[in-house]
Amino acid sequence: MFEPASYESNLLARASLDQCVKCTICETQCPVLAVTPLFSGPKFVGPQAERYRHGLVVDHSLDYCSSCGTCTLVCPQGVKIAELNSVARAAMKKGHTPLRDQIISRTSFMGKAMKPVAPLANAVLHNSAARWAMEKTLGIHRKAAMPTAHSHSFSDWWKKHTPPSAPTRGKVVYFHGCAGEFFEVETSIMTVEVLEHLGFEVITPTQGCCGLPMQSNGLFDAARKHVRTLADQLGVEPDAPIVASASSCVTMLKHEAHDIMGVDDESLIKVGSRIREVSEFLLDLADHDDLPLDFSPIEMTAPYHAPCQLKGQGMGRPAVELLKLIPGLTVVDAEATCCGIAGTYGVKKEKYDIGQAVGRPLFDKVREINPDFAICDTETCRWQIATATGATVVHPIWFLHKAYGLG
């Protein structure tokens, strides 16, 4: 049960469900419902089931919701379906979140723990006996995509880094996220190099986790704490744009912390309204004729997958528009709903098969368009697509970095 008068009890008292007209559009688009009968579907567990909850959540199958947010995105009546589900899940799990969910929702903890022993950690993550043991003890599926540990973090690089030339434009605050700090170090470095190439003065404050994985695992208290701390950290330059290469974490700052967990702090509102996903930021420059277009051609056709969390920002597909500017490059939007990882959903033993089935249309598209190379903005989705297809999957910044002749 919730603390009375908490945001959860208010939201569980659920303003938006009144708008549901049962049209079922959400259920036709839900990627989980399409592949398994174990999930009752977003309309069922959202606006319908919510009428039967008064702080107590009895329908445990709602945990089959992957929180991808497709339902909220497609609802023509404005019902916050995914948000209702997330809040109900948090209520259900409060006080008894499994150890696994506590661990996998702390990306920076995992990164920090693996960094000093990166080769060993990678060996363990690719050892079938070790993975079998992880599945048995923790419930992490033996075949699930895992990040690659690095001996050097982004911060290690940043400390030694000096900008190539004096800035010619203003300041930008860079938000790399925990995965960008420990696992996707190259993406972070490339983003900084592109921004500096464009003449920005890049500032990277010390920064922690946005709390998204905790939120999606129902650990609201911890998630709120993290997102508040992060908002303070990113607020260092009150007037500078905040640019991020971690597209899902941007969603957390832009609206999920407010819509799902009721965080209304002014620091969050200020950061959330100023933060831009890097493709969104660069496309905005291009739209104002402020982006140098001296790109070297890249002869390639590659599939692009828009992560669910990015779609939830309601800004279209800026990466697709941006990459069109590079000569020779053909980017094909895979137009798939979800890759099936949904943050940490697809690594869980009981949900792995569902996640794989959800991702299958995307995997097939990738194999069809370019089996070796694909593009996606979010780390966990990249790991999922790479593991399932064997393709190299990169952040869109990879192409800009290359086209500007930076690497």
Binding site: N10, A13, R14, Q19, K22, E50, R51, H54, D59, Q77
Partner: protein
């Protein structure tokens, strides 16, 4: 003609009559109950669902309050499945006089009613949507109760003792000779058969219709003053505690969280004919305004359905006949052997659903007194069948049930979570049921879409299972939708208009319900067929163009709902 013989005939299948049936049967009298409609289809199914703590009456009518306080506990114990122990709050809003709270506390002490004054902050912590300006708050033992569940489980108990309930049997005459009741004549409305029941006693529990029954016995009618009150069900529970305004009884002074909805009530207007209860739009607005006082933003919440019920108040000379709210809600037992020199007829009136068991006890005591007998009443001691002692209803129950069987039986009514096996089981058990009969048992069609999605599925399943043929099934479907419309029209605005528009597109545009086969005459329901309003349209099609959502231009549309002139002049259906 069918002939039956019994000791006692109870007329009126509301909760009072059913309580009397149970009490008579438990005391060893052979008893048959008759109602012209379904059980609890009248006043017992048209209230707000409050299981009264007595709080509403502590100042104006302490004796009623005392009865409520004790019967509340008894009903919770003997029919736990029908009762949700929500608790209740009496709150003093910024517009109200805080001094009434002192009278409230004093009255509660006199009536032995449990009450606890709490800090307004505590009340807000419990119900965050409450008006944040409340000045005082009192916690009482209000609960919510399902009138139909009360009726059925009490009937099941009566059956165990040999009692018999005959719904859809309309009484046509009460026979007597030499100052003694001898029998009752009735018509079985489902089959058309005449039924003659020999008996020596008739207990008139017809509530607002009690006067019509005494007239059938050739006596001057008992002066009943039906007090019409409207209720509006909102789409979901804005509160989980019964919220009362701590003021003298007035319009719109209560919000009751009942099942998946919350219900605001009510008004009180004297009417002449309990079969003609309208839901005037000014009273609907009045309810929304009152809701705003208790829960700011109430007007923005979605209204689902409105209905009106008739209070069965017996005329009391102590107050003016037009001021029914201030009339004693205590019960009145009229022994016609004293009033009209007719033995074997007793009429009961007044009271509240919460005290139905006690009313039954009083009337059966009065009957036994006339008969010179004295059997102890045991209705308060025994838990009714189908109830799990000590386990009250929770709003989560149906969701929990569907969670358990979600892989085996598909959902038919999505709003009220009725699955196919629930429907098929009941259809096979009661093949003569119309869809409103099914609704009262299963809640099908009572949620946000008001039957727009599920009713055609019900018709299809009924055919597929071979219980009802296609023609009758589609006829019943149309009738059901007409009845839903009666309660929709008065509150149609905002989200519910969008729902109604979508429902119409599905039913007309896709299913072409105007052209499906239907019988030349569907058996009309004696109670459910009601005019909408003096001014209301009978279907969405008749709304003025500006009031309607745009519709696909290509669909052919025909009116399917009965014109008002065909509809019988009877009251509105509930939630």
């Amino acid at each position: 003609m069918k002939k039956l013989v019994t000791d006692v005939v109870v007329i009126g299948g509301g909760t009072t009559g059913i309580g009397v049936l149970r009490d008579c049967a438990m005391r060893g009298h052979r008893t048959i109950l008759l109602d012209r409609a379904d059980l609890a289809q009248g006043t017992s199914g048209r209230f707000h669902g409050l299981l009264n703590s007595g709080g509403r009456y502590v100042v104006s009518d302490p004796e009623s309050a005392r009865e409520c306080a004790s019967e509340n506990a008894i009903v919770s114990r003997i029919q736990p499945n029908a009762v949700e122990r929500t608790g209740g709050l009496f709150v003093v809003t910024p517009a109200d006089d805080p001094a009434f709270g002192d009278k409230f506390l004093a009255g509660a002490a006199l009536a032995d009613m449990p009450v606890q004054e709490i800090d307004p902050a505590q009340a807000l912590a419990r119900e965050p949507r409450l008006n944040h300006g409340i000045k005082r708050a009192f916690l009482v033992e209000d609960g919510t109760v399902d009138g139909w569940q009360i009726a059925w489980s009490a009937t099941a108990s009566a059956k165990q003792y040999g009692g018999q309930a005959l719904p859809y049997h309309k009484v046509t005459q009460v026979h007597h000779s030499n100052g003694q009741v001898t029998g009752v004549a009735a018509t079985d409305l489902k089959t058309g058969e005449e039924v003659m029941i020999d008996c020596s006693f008739v207990l008139n529990c017809a509530g607002p219709w009690a006067g019509q029954i005494t007239r059938m016995a050739g006596l001057p009618p008992v002066a009943v003053v039906p007090g019409r009150g409207i209720m509006i069900a909102m789409n979901h529970r804005l509160v989980n505690t019964v919220i009362n305004r701590c003021i003298p009884p007035s319009d719109g002074d209560i919000i009751v969280p009942a099942h998946t909805v919350c219900i605001i009530g009510t008004t009180d207007h004297k009417v002449d004919d309990p079969d003609h209860l309208v839901v005037p739009r000014e009273e609907v607005q009045q309810m929304f305004d009152s809701g705003e006082e208790l829960i700011p933003g109430f007007r923005q919440a979605r209204a689902l359905h409105a209905w009106a019920g008739a209070r069965p108040l017996i005329k009391d000379d102590r107050v003016a006949a037009t001021d029914t709210r201030h009339m004693s809600r205590g019960m009145a037992v009229i022994d016609h052997s004293q009033r009209d020199d007719l033995k074997g007829l007793i009429t009961i009136g007044g009271g509240k659903l919460t005290t139905y068991r006690l009313m039954a006890e009083h009337i059966v005591d009065a009957m036994e007194e006339q008969l010179g007998q004295s059997h102890p009443c045991r209705t308060g001691d025994e838990v009714c069948p189908g109830n799990e002692p000590g386990h009250n209803y929770l709003v989560t129950h149906r969701l929990k049930d569907r969670e358990a069987d979600r892989m085996t039986s598909p959902i038919i009514c999505e709003c009220e979570l009725m699955n196919r096996s629930m429907l098929v089981d009941l259809l096979k058990q009661n093949p003569l049921d119309n869809f409103d009969d099914l609704r009262r048992q299963l809640r099908v069609g009572m949620g946000p879409c008001q039957g727009g999605f599920c009713s055609s599925r019900v018709a299809g399943v009924a055919c597929e299972e071979g219980v009802i043929d296609a023609t009758r099934s589609t006829g019943l479907l149309k009738l059901f939708l007409e009845h839903r419309w009666i309660g929709l029209w008065p509150i149609l605005h905002d989200a519910q208009v969008r729902q109604a528009a979508l429902d119409e597109w599905i039913l007309h545009g896709t299913l072409d319900i105007g052209h499906v086969p239907s019988p030349t005459s569907v058996e009309r329901d004696p109670v459910d067929d009601a005019p909408i309003d003096e001014t209301g349209p009978t279907t969405m099609e008749e709304l003025p163009p500006g009031a309607r959502a745009p519709q696909p231009a290509t669909t052919t549309r025909r009116r399917t709902r009965a014109p008002r002139s065909q509809a019988a002049n009877t009251p509105k259906e509930t939630k």
